[in-house]
């Protein structure tokens, strides 16, 4: 790999951190707005449910998301504050469908200690000011003037240093906050302050309440007429106001989220750490609070945010499981639950660990993640591309074409599958046993190759061969009419629809026929100057049986032409450029937009927008799909039309949000495809590949496919063992009511069914920390090695752990050896036929020794001290790369002769690491806990020991995501002869559920893309005025420096979303044609 890296998101964040409901997109629209860390999603409430409108990338990690209504406004504005101290106020302009920045700013202070409990951002209910608590001891105020404009911000000293929550109170003549805080004796209190905007200071508020629940953590302000605040503790809930105090005990629980139900604030939904949803009711009489009541409703995902939507529907946003749309029923179901889950929204977060495997052995990586936490823990199998689920297959060599035909025009299903070979045509049909068997259509000529077949009107079928066009009755199967090619001419290419046939003979003759009831009539003939290579008359107009346009691909001048039908007048001629002839053309329409697709002999595909009334071709784009000629065919799946491009790299072309997308099909090589929708195999495709005819159904048409395997417990480590075809995980199960609330396991799973097939329970207090599959020198067996730690409540750092060596025997985990360690085994690596362990501050090497009794044991060989905590270790040859808790990356070397491990070099920065990976011999990749990525390089050529002992930082980048794991591998099938196939990649998984790809580029490509990125920065602005350059700058407590040697693939690939004008603008700035830019960027999208 290299130091020039391209970082791109394969799976966007799905961890829902914030949500709110309001009238954002218009005064009449009710919107649900969701924050997924670095993205905001805007949904519209409709009779059909939640309709997603927009996904808005934000150049920052969202710390606060609030809707508010300024004085005199008819719709809400959106306030967003980011963790790096930027904020913006956004307004939706429904006329232009644009997000307009009303205000923005920087709220950082030069001096200040960032709050431990996260940032707090709140807006006064009467819209007099925005309050921010970003640094200990300071409360920042951004005042509004009476026109709703923001004014210069100022700080107020806040005496309370350990703040747990701050909210504005409703119904106060002066803006008033209530502060929930902990004192230096760990007691918790609530206090109110009025904010005096004139004096820029606090004035003692109307009330305070001391000695609250020790677990009090959340404030809920109550709107008028009741006003006051609810203080949610772990054992009590308290209502407080200037003149009332009510408290109720609750079942011990930690409330993670709340959502107000009634505008008057009399009911609230509370979600706790176990996923229990409860309803908190404030009972009141004559606007006086008389008491509190709490009712459990049922179970949801563990909520991080709750938004009441409308008509008893509620959105549950989750960080630990899938987010949900639920309905609150008035009557309980059989299990006594009032909650009905209606929709689930996939969340991969937090991805704690993952592995890359090729389960189907097709050369394509799949990612299996440890996702979710607590009861919502799961494994997720993430796969790129579209799968074909094989239903049947037969060996058939030399297929030259395939078409499906119906036995009558009104039939819903296809009956016949016509398969054409070089010197014959065979017909397959479904028999009564739903088996495919060979049959005959008497009227068809079976001794020659078919060029085209089609269903025709009036219960007829059409067959085109090199000498004639045959019209056959689909009921009697007899020939009804035949059109013969003029003598001396043979038909080279042909195409047909239900009423028309277009064919070309040698010498550039184009002939147009129309189909009647038993009649084939030659309507028009045209002589073109060159030979014709391909044709299409797929109807895309209003009449599904008839086309007004014909597309024709030409030899010699390498052009594609549009003719009008029936008169065969040339209306457009588009030279394709280059020397590669078009091999397949297709007229098609997606989402109401008409296109002409044109596939070339070298695996490139051109697409044009087609004006169906003028025949004009515009917006030419080129992509590379493979290296072999492509055949294009349409097919339908779930009532939507897509295009299948058969080639050495089969691809489905589809449209989403009016943009053409290309998704790999997970098959190696496909020569022909035709839809085959039979009663036995509905919605299927017939696929000719590598001497085989396969009938299969197709996956949903989308890029990434995710399969969930709920575990009901939290998987923390995963690894795959090819030999035993199993996965092993370290997991823990929470059982809050038991004496030991956590139990840890090593579990074995079948890699096809994902069922638990064996379990090894760990000791009390023993955590599974790491798992690998490995083998040792002089032993042919493969083992699972597990590193553990005894986490005792009285110890700061574990002082004891174990290494357990398991074999899989008869599908069971058999403990073969165990070794006690003096600390937590954070990491294990197979290393030179031995086992390398990271144990607290030490790196320790164990050899696998055969004892006299024939059993094996792990024996310590050598070690290396000098880390704070060696958490992440990767090895390559004799080199060991260590990611330390707080001392960045160091490089060690194992010296065989001396049997010793020595330090070779280190990075002297104080990075708190979260993952490391070795990119190549000299370059190492690290992720640290301020959400940055960096690369360091070994300096072997340094003049002095000091220079050689220093790892040079060569790349820095702010990802904005917390990476838990890197793994070499690829999500897409790597074809050695494709350009993209040469680019090495590393996959990463993050807490927000992002799966990303880091690709190492050749230098020239990096330079080119860097130029493209800087041009794109000028065209695609940051939402809310946030700067892309600042967002991607490497930033932690110690320093902030510009990003270098990393490119933002998400920004670069959004080039493809631009309209033509903007593309032109970028193209001019970069000095490269739009077509070339599209092609190069499209290729990059195929990395993930």
């Amino acid at each position: 790999m290299s130091i020039w890296n391209y970082v791109v998101t394969a799976h966007k964040p799905t961890n829902v951190t914030h949500s709110c409901v309001g009238n954002f997109t218009s005064p009449q629209d009710l919107n649900l707005i969701i924050a997924k860390c670095t993205r905001v999603e805007i949904h519209l409430l409709t009779p059909q449910g939640l309709q997603p409108m927009l996904d808005v990338p934000i150049y920052g990690r969202i710390a606060t998301l609030e809707l508010f209504r300024s004085h005199g406004e008819a719709q809400d504005f959106l306030f967003i504050a980011t963790e790096r101290y930027k904020f913006c106020v956004l307004q939706w302009d429904s006329e232009t469908s644009e997000l307009v920045t009303r205000a923005m700013g920087d709220v950082s202070d030069r001096i200040g200690r960032a709050t431990d409990n996260g940032q707090i951002g709140i807006i006064d209910p009467d819209c007099r000011l925005i309050g921010l608590h970003l640094y200990d001891g300071l409360f920042k105020v951004i005042p509004f003037d009476n026109r709703g404009q923001l004014k210069e911000a100022f700080n107020i000293r806040l005496e309370e240093l350990q703040v747990l929550d701050i909210k504005f109170l409703y119904g106060c003549s002066k803006p008033t906050i209530v502060v929930l805080y902990q004192d230096n004796k760990d007691a918790r209190h609530a206090k109110t302050y009025e904010v005096s905007l004139k004096d820029k200071d606090f004035v003692e508020g109307p009330w305070s309440q001391n000695n609250l629940d020790n677990g009090a953590d959340l404030l809920i302000p109550v709107p008028p007429p009741l006003c006051g605040v609810l203080i949610i503790g772990e054992e009590t809930i308290v209502y407080c106001s200037a003149n009332a105090f009510k408290a109720i005990p609750i079942r011990p629980s930690i409330t993670k989220a709340y959502g107000r139900v009634d505008p008057d604030g009399s009911r609230y939904l509370l979600g706790d750490h176990t996923g229990l949803l409860s309803l908190l009711v404030i009972t009141h009489e004559k606007e006086k609070v008389t008491g509190l009541k709490i009712e459990p409703l049922g179970e949801t995902s563990i909520a991080s945010t709750i938004s009441y939507l409308d008509n008893a529907f509620v959105y549950i946003g989750s960080s630990y499981g899938d987010s949900q749309l639920i309905k609150l029923n008035q009557q309980p179901d059989a299990k006594g639950s009032y909650v009905e889950v209606l929709e689930r929204y996939v969340n991969l977060g937090p991805i704690v660990d993952f592995c890359v495997v090729d389960l189907e052995r097709q050369g394509q990586g799949q990612v299996v993640t440890c996702s979710g936490a607590y009861k919502d823990g799961s494994l997720r199998v993430v796969r790129n591309g579209i799968g074909i689920n094989e239903q049947a297959s037969v060996e058939l060599q030399g297929i030259k074409g395939m078409w499906s035909l119906r036995s009558s025009t009104d039939d819903l299903f296809d009956t016949f599958l016509v398969v054409s070979f070089i010197s014959e045509t065979r017909i397959l049909a479904m028999n009564l046993e739903d088996e495919l068997e060979e049959t005959e259509i008497e009227g068809f000529c079976s001794q020659v190759q078919s060029l085209s077949c089609h269903d025709a009107v009036h219960n007829q079928l059409v067959q085109v061969t090199s000498s004639s066009v045959r019209l056959v009755s689909s009921t009697t199967r007899e020939l009804r009419n035949e059109w013969h090619a003029p003598s001396g001419y043979s038909i080279n290419v042909a195409t047909a629809n239900a009423t028309q046939v277009l064919l070309a003979t040698g010498g550039g003759h184009l002939v147009y026929l129309e189909i009647g009831d038993g009649i084939l009539q030659e309507i028009k003939h045209a002589q073109l100057e060159y030979e014709i290579s391909c044709l299409d008359i797929n109807p895309i107009g209003e009449n599904p049986n008839h086309s007004n346009l014909a597309a024709v691909g030409m030899w010699t001048d390498i052009s594609v032409r549009i003719f009008s039908l029936p008169d065969l007048n040339l209306i457009t001629k588009e030279p394709l450029g280059g020397e590669i002839i078009p091999r397949s053309v297709l007229l098609c329409a997606f989402e109401g937009i008409s296109y002409l697709l044109c596939a070339l002999g070298d695996g490139h595909l051109l697409n044009f927008l087609l004006n169906t009334s003028t025949g004009e071709l515009t917006d030419r784009k080129k992509v590379s799909l493979g290296t072999q000629p492509i055949t294009l065919r349409t097919f339908s799946s779930k009532n939507t039309t897509h295009v299948f491009a058969a080639s050495d790299r089969p691809t489905v072309i589809y449209s989403s949000n009016k943009k053409l997308l290309y998704s790999n099909v997970n098959l190696k090589e496909v020569s022909h495809m035709c839809p085959f929708n039979s009663a036995a195999f509905p919605d299927s495709l017939a696929i000719a590949k590598e001497g085989e005819l396969t009938i299969g159904t197709i996956d949903d048409i989308q890029k990434l496919h995710i399969r969930s395997i709920p575990l009901g417990e939290h998987a923390r480590r995963i690894c795959h063992q090819e030999q035993s075809r199993t996965f092993a995980i370290c997991s823990l199960k929470y059982n809050p009511s038991a004496e030991e609330p956590e139990t840890h396991f090593v579990r074995l799973l079948d890699d096809q069914t994902f069922e638990f097939i064996s379990t090894y329970p760990l000791d009390t207090y023993e955590y599974g920390c790491f798992i690998i599959s490995c083998s040792f020198s002089d032993d042919s067996n493969v083992y699972y090695c597990v590193g553990t730690a005894y986490v005792l409540p009285e110890e700061n750092e574990p002082s004891k752990g174990r290494i357990l060596v398991f074999a899989v025997e008869d599908g069971k985990l058999q403990l073969i050896a165990e070794k006690e360690t003096k600390g937590a085994v954070y990491c294990l690596n197979a290393f030179n036929g031995k086992l390398l362990a990271a144990i607290n501050q030490k790196i320790q090497l164990y050899k696998w020794v055969l004892r006299d009794d024939g059993t094996h044991e792990l024996q310590s060989e050598c070690g290396h001290h000098g880390h704070i905590l060696a958490l992440y270790v990767q090895t390559r040859g004799d080199f060991i790369v260590v990611g330390d808790l707080m001392k960045s990356i160091s490089l060690l070397i194992y010296k065989h002769e001396e049997g010793a491990i020595e330090e070779r070099a280190r990075d002297y920065n104080a990075n708190w690491m979260s993952a490391v990976e070795i990119l190549d011999d000299d370059i190492y990749l690290g992720a640290e806990n301020s959400f940055n990525l960096f690369t360091v390089r070994k300096n072997s050529e340094g003049a002095t020991d000091e220079e050689r002992g220093r790892l040079e930082v060569v790349g820095e980048y702010h990802l904005g995501e917390f990476i838990n794991r890197f793994r070499h591998g690829s999500l897409v099938m790597r074809l050695p002869d494709s350009e993209v196939g040469q680019i090495p990649t590393v996959i990463f998984g993050t807490i927000n559920g992002v799966i990303g790809v880091i690709a190492s580029l050749p230098h020239d490509q990096y330079v080119f893309l860097e130029k493209l990125q800087s041009s794109l920065r000028k065209v695609i602005k940051g939402v809310g005025g946030l700067s892309h350059e600042q967002w991607r700058s490497f930033s932690n407590d110690k320093k902030t420096v510009e990003a270098r040697n990393f490119l933002d693939g998400d920004l670069i690939e959004s080039f493809l979303d631009l309209n033509r004008n903007k593309m032109d603008e970028v193209s001019q700035a970069v000095g490269v044609s739009v077509e070339e830019l599209c092609k190069r960027v499209e290729e990059l999208t195929r990395l993930h």
Partner: protein, 93 residues
């Protein structure tokens, strides 16, 4: 239970009325379009680019107190304030 579990707020009775309850074990897959800010309204009016006042809280407090003390005297000796109010660089001779 019934008494608190009914009468859910309704802003538009049509919302969710035609929701087709798909199998909840299958996940919802609708993906919204990605928004790109390609207009010139990403920058707010100049007066709406907000920063924090530079004056330190302590100085602000001192000035405020000083102002409070000086206010009653202001009528008598307006022109004296600069001389006594703050330090000024001495012109070296």
């Amino acid at each position: 239970m019934d008494s608190v579990l009914g009468n859910w707020p309704s802003y538009d009775p049509h919302n969710f009325s035609q929701l087709r309850t798909s199998d909840p074990s299958r996940s919802s897959k609708m993906a919204p379009a990605t928004y790109h800010s390609i207009h010139n309204r990403d920058v707010p009016p100049a007066d709406q680019v907000i920063n924090t006042e530079h004056k330190n809280i302590l100085l602000r407090e001192i000035y405020r107190r000083a102002e409070e003390k000086l206010t009653p005297k202001r009528a008598a000796s307006d022109n004296l304030i600069p001389e006594h109010g703050s330090k000024q660089p001495r012109v070296s001779t």
